[in-house]
């Protein structure tokens, strides 16, 4: 392959299959038809067919073993993923049920399995067959230069399901997915670097989590 992007080139070269055929496009720069460059696939000026694709990278001043270990415990993710209420492991094979917040105190469950895992480097997951939402995600951890810590890239793709019910659910789930993913990754960085998630709330009952609970208690 021609890509000289070390991060993504290596990943794409390793032949990671995340399920859907269209998926390669967000991983690889090979799909750029005219003038291949070094930028990650998800920064392309194009759409990804049925999929909504969100990709973001942050640098976190912590060793990648530590970051990987925190992420691999899926139950930790709701500490910074604001629209995820809880994640419950199912069995020992890496399956998990993600409970996603929805308006009026409702929630949506999505079951995922681990599609690929490389210790301290990569975790990829995807929704299991028959899920209401077809979603795949991947997080990679790469040493940053010098003492900068670790570059963490999060890639999430969703496919809008068919049918009225499915589309209603998708609408909840995909509400500003790009904004959600960007903010979640920032909150992950805050939690890892500072031990807490920044808030300008003057009182506990003014935090976003508290306000969400108050809204749904009505």
């Amino acid at each position: 392959m021609k890509s000289d992007n070390r991060e993504l080139g290596a990943l794409a070269g390793a032949g990671i299959a995340l399920g859907a055929a269209a998926v390669g496009a967000w991983l690889s720069t090979r799909e750029k038809k005219h003038h291949p460059d070094s930028a990650p696939g998800w920064t392309q000026r194009r759409n990804f067919g049925d999929y909504e694709v969100v990709g973001r990278t942050v640098t976190i001043r912590k060793p990648r073993t530590e970051l990987f270990a925190f992420w691999r415990e899926f139950q930790n993710l709701p500490q910074f993923m604001e629209n995820v209420e809880k994640i419950t492991p199912k069995g020992s094979g890496g399956r998990a049920v993600w409970t996603i917040k929805a308006p009026a105190g409702q929630s949506v469950d999505i079951e995922t399995e681990i599609a690929r895992e490389e210790q301290d480097t990569l975790i990829a997951w995807r929704s299991v067959e028959g899920s209401d939402i077809d979603t795949e995600g991947r997080v990679t951890f790469e040493d940053a230069p010098g003492e900068r810590g670790t570059r963490v890239s999060l890639l999430i793709a969703y496919k809008a399901p068919g049918g009225k019910v499915g589309q209603a659910i998708a609408k909840l789930f995909m509400r500003e997915p790009e904004v959600q993913a960007r903010h979640d990754l920032k909150r992950f960085k805050m939690l890892m670097e500072t031990g807490e998630v920044s808030t300008s709330a003057r009182r506990k009952d003014q935090t976003r989590a508290a306000q969400y609970q108050q809204e749904n208690a009505r």
């Binding site: 670097e193 807490e196 998630v197 808030t199 709330a201």
Partner: protein, 393 residues
Amino acid sequence: MKALTWHGKHDVRVDTVDDPEIVNSRDAIIKVTSTAICGSDLHLYDGVIPMVQSGDILGHEFMGEVVETGANSTLKKGQRVVVPFTISCGGCFHCNIKQYSCCENSNPAEKQDASATLYGHPMAGLFGYSHLTGGYSGGQAEYVRVPYSDFGPIVVPDHLDDEKVLFLSDILPTGWMGAENAEINPDDTVAVWGCGPVGLFAIQSAIVMGASKVIAIDHYPHRLELAKKLGADTINFRETDVREALMEMSGGIGVDAVIDAVGMEAHGFAYDNMMDMVKQTVGIGADRASALKQAILAVRPGGRVSIPGVYGGMTDKWPLGAMMEKGLQLRGGQTHVQRYTKDLLDKIEDGTLDTTFLISHRLPLTQAADGYKNFHDNQNEWTKVVLKPGMEA
């Protein structure tokens, strides 16, 4: 508690609001003993900073007593602390290289998008300075929630009065960094636009750093008098052609470094400033940068341009050609306060720096709205206002 809150252009009030609480584990609650109105607060007062919301508590220069601490705060109840106006986490890439005002974590994630859109990158969190910088409740209040209290606040010794150390929170390090960014050498002539508190501290800092001559530019006689007492030469731009005078006073070379301590609401009747004022008034969001433009023309080829004055938007008619053709270096930025606090505290303690000469008025917090009005309307006499929550009205 009582706090000074913003309600619109030229409408600030002392309201009763909920007391702050410990929210995160590194927080502390400070009982404010002294807090000041900053020149940059007047930009909020004039409504030229976006994303201020009705009810926001203003104020970013404050100090006081620690009254409550979160589990991971290193402060102790009863300590006297001065709090930097820039909120810095101490753990990110930028904090690690001492660029504290570029902290990546202190502006809450959901608040970062606006400044990222405006500037390409999000700003750090600041106290009491709009939701662009996090929407944190400010220090013109009886109590303040201080995040990352184990990293920012500096404990001050009891024998130094509030008024001597309060300005470590912002304007003293801001003036100092303004002079540092001008890279002053002993033979240099340095010109400072604006003799407000930051300009006066920049003048004092430039003199301490050994500049051979510092020239202060303003139009308020009393403010120029304060600059003169510090040892500066002065130019009143209402009386004198500034650029011609600077050329003559620097022996025809031009000044070696210029410091813009004016910012986005420059006074003056130059044509470009009048046009920018009209745009600002109709909400086009242009910064009035006439002082800075004049400074860029006045500085000698190969000279340095330092910008501690606050800008928030765009400007046009920018003398880009002068910058390139004269080979200028330009530096600005919110102050990396935590980088300077300890050294400046030592300089206050040993008498190298005088921090009280510019205070003109002391008011109880309950009279803060009057303080804003006078600081805005009567700039000649009202040079710096310190608010004291505990003072009898």
